[in-house]
C-alpha cells in the first residue's frame, strides 16, 4: 500500500513575514518537524490551499492538523479551515508569549533572544499537541528525536507535502460532483490483500474511506452506495 497516506500530524505555520512572531511560528514548526517529532509530522505551505490543486486542499482531511499563527489574525487557522478542513488545534505565538510572560520577540529576519525563547516555548507546546493528536504521550517509539538537536535544520528537508499530494478522485453522489481523497490507494490496499467485494470487505472499505473523507451523515447511504459500486468496478477491471 505504498501510495496510502500515512497518518501523521500536519503542521501548518503562518510564516508571517511581516512579524517576528511569524518567524517564531515557522521556526517552532521546523523544530518539531525536524527535531522533536520527526517521522510523526508533515507540513505543507499554507498558500498551496489556494495556489495548488485538489490534492493539496485534501491535506487537512488526511492529516489531523495543528496550525501555528504569529498573531491573532490567525491566517493559518482560518485558511486551513476554509480551504481544507478544520484543524484539531491552533496555537497563536503572541498569546503564548503573553501567557509565559516573555518579552516581545523582535527581528523578522534574525530573532532576538526573546524570539528564540518564544520558539522553544511554542515548539514544546506544539509537540505536546502532536502527541495528543496521535493519542500518546511523548514521541512514539522509533521516532524518538536525537539526544542533541539536529542543528537548526541545516542541510535538511522537512517532510513537506508539496509535490507529493494525496490522490483525489471525483465521483458523482446525489447529482453532485464530490472529491474523495485516497480512494484508489484504499481500493488497492484491499485488492492487494486478495480481498474481493464481499459484504465484510465492502463494509471495511467504506469505513476506511470515511477515515480520510468527511462524509455528511445525511448522505452516508448515498456515499456508501457509490463507493461500493466503485470498489466492485475496480475489482472487475
Amino acid at each position: 500500500m505504498s501510495d496510502m497516506p500515512e497518518r501523521k500530524v500536519g503542521i501548518i505555520a503562518c510564516s508571517g513575514e511581516q512579524l517576528a512572531e511569524g518567524t517564531v511560528a515557522r521556526l517552532a514548526a521546523l523544530r518539531v518537524l525536524n527535531e522533536l517529532r520527526p517521522g510523526q509530522t508533515v507540513t505543507i505551505c499554507l498558500p498551496l490551499f489556494l495556489a495548488g490543486g485538489a490534492e493539496d486542499r485534501a491535506f487537512a482531511c488526511v492529516h489531523p492538523t495543528i496550525t501555528v499563527d504569529g498573531c491573532d489574525l490567525r491566517c493559518a487557522a482560518h485558511g486551513t479551515e476554509k480551504y481544507s478542513s478544520k484543524p484539531v488545534a491552533s496555537l497563536v505565538v503572541s498569546e503564548l508569549v503573553a501567557e509565559h510572560g516573555l518579552p516581545k520577540p523582535e527581528g523578522c529576519r534574525r530573532l532576538n533572544d526573546a524570539g528564540k525563547q518564544a520558539v522553544e516555548v511554542t515548539a514544546q507546546r506544539l509537540a505536546a499537541l502532536v502527541d495528543e493528536a496521535l493519542g500518546h504521550e511523548g514521541p512514539a517509539a522509533g521516532n524518538r528525536p536525537a539526544a542533541q538537536p539536529a542543528g537548526n535544520g541545516k542541510g535538511e528537508e522537512v517532510t513537506c507535502s508539496c509535490g507529493s499530494g494525496v490522490p483525489v478522485r471525483r465521483v458523482v453522489i446525489d447529482g453532485q460532483t464530490v472529491e474523495l481523497v485516497a480512494l484508489d490507494p484504499i481500493f488497492q490496499k484491499f485488492r492487494s490483500a486478495g480481498r474481493g467485494p464481499d459484504e465484510a470487505t465492502l463494509r471495511e472499505v467504506f469505513d476506511m474511506v470515511k477515515l480520510y473523507n468527511d462524509v455528511p451523515p445525511k448522505a452516508e447511504a448515498s456515499y456508501r452506495e457509490v463507493i461500493h459500486r466503485e470498489f466492485i468496478a475496480a475489482c472487475q477491471s
Binding site: 513575514e17 521546523l30 489574525l73 491566517c75 541545516k154 522537512v158
Partner: protein
C-alpha cells in the same frame, strides 16, 4: 512599443516572498525579500505576508492592488505569484529562486531554519539583480546593514 509596468510614481514596490517551509529555496526567497526591503531599498519597498493574501486580508489586498509587486518564489508551484494575481495585484517581476540558482550554480543553498553562507549569498545576489532589473529601480542607495560575507 508596449509600455512596461513600472514601479509606482513614488518608486515604491511591494515584495511578496513565498512561505516555503520545506526546502532551503523558500528560505532564500524570504532572505532576498528582507534584503531588498531592509538594505537595498529601505523605505521604498515593503513586504506583504503571503498568509494574509490567503486569508483575503483587506489591508494586504489593498497593498498589492495599489502598488507594483515583486513576487519571489522558492519552487515551481509559484504560490506567491499566483496569490498576488488572484488578489488583483500587478506583478512587475516574478522572481524564481530556482532560476537564480541555475544562473549561480556555485551558490547551493542548504539549511531551512538557518541558511548556509552560499544560500545567504544567493539571496543577496538575487535581491541585487531583482532591484537592478526593476523598470525604475526604487533604490534608496546603498544602506547596507548586515553583511553576510
Amino acid at each position: 512599443m508596449p509600455q512596461e509596468a513600472t514601479s509606482s510614481p513614488k518608486g515604491h514596490v511591494v515584495v511578496v516572498p513565498c512561505s516555503g517551509i520545506g526546502k532551503p529555496f523558500g528560505t532564500v526567497s524570504r532572505e532576498a525579500a528582507y534584503e531588498i526591503c531592509e538594505n537595498l531599498c529601505p523605505g521604498k519597498a515593503q513586504i506583504v505576508a503571503l498568509a494574509k493574501l490567503v486569508l483575503g486580508d483587506a489591508e494586504a489586498r489593498s497593498a498589492v492592488s495599489s502598488t507594483p509587486v515583486v513576487s519571489i518564489d522558492g519552487c515551481k508551484r509559484a504560490c506567491a505569484a499566483t496569490m498576488v494575481k488572484q488578489s488583483g495585484g500587478t506583478l512587475i517581476r516574478e522572481v524564481s529562486v530556482l532560476e537564480a540558482f541555475r544562473q549561480h550554480k556555485d551558490l547551493k543553498p542548504e539549511g531551512i531554519a538557518e541558511l548556509n553562507d552560499a544560500g545567504l549569498k544567493l539571496a543577496r545576489v538575487l535581491a541585487e539583480e531583482t532591484v537592478a532589473s526593476l523598470p525604475r529601480a526604487p533604490s534608496a542607495g546603498p544602506a547596507r546593514g548586515e553583511n553576510h560575507e
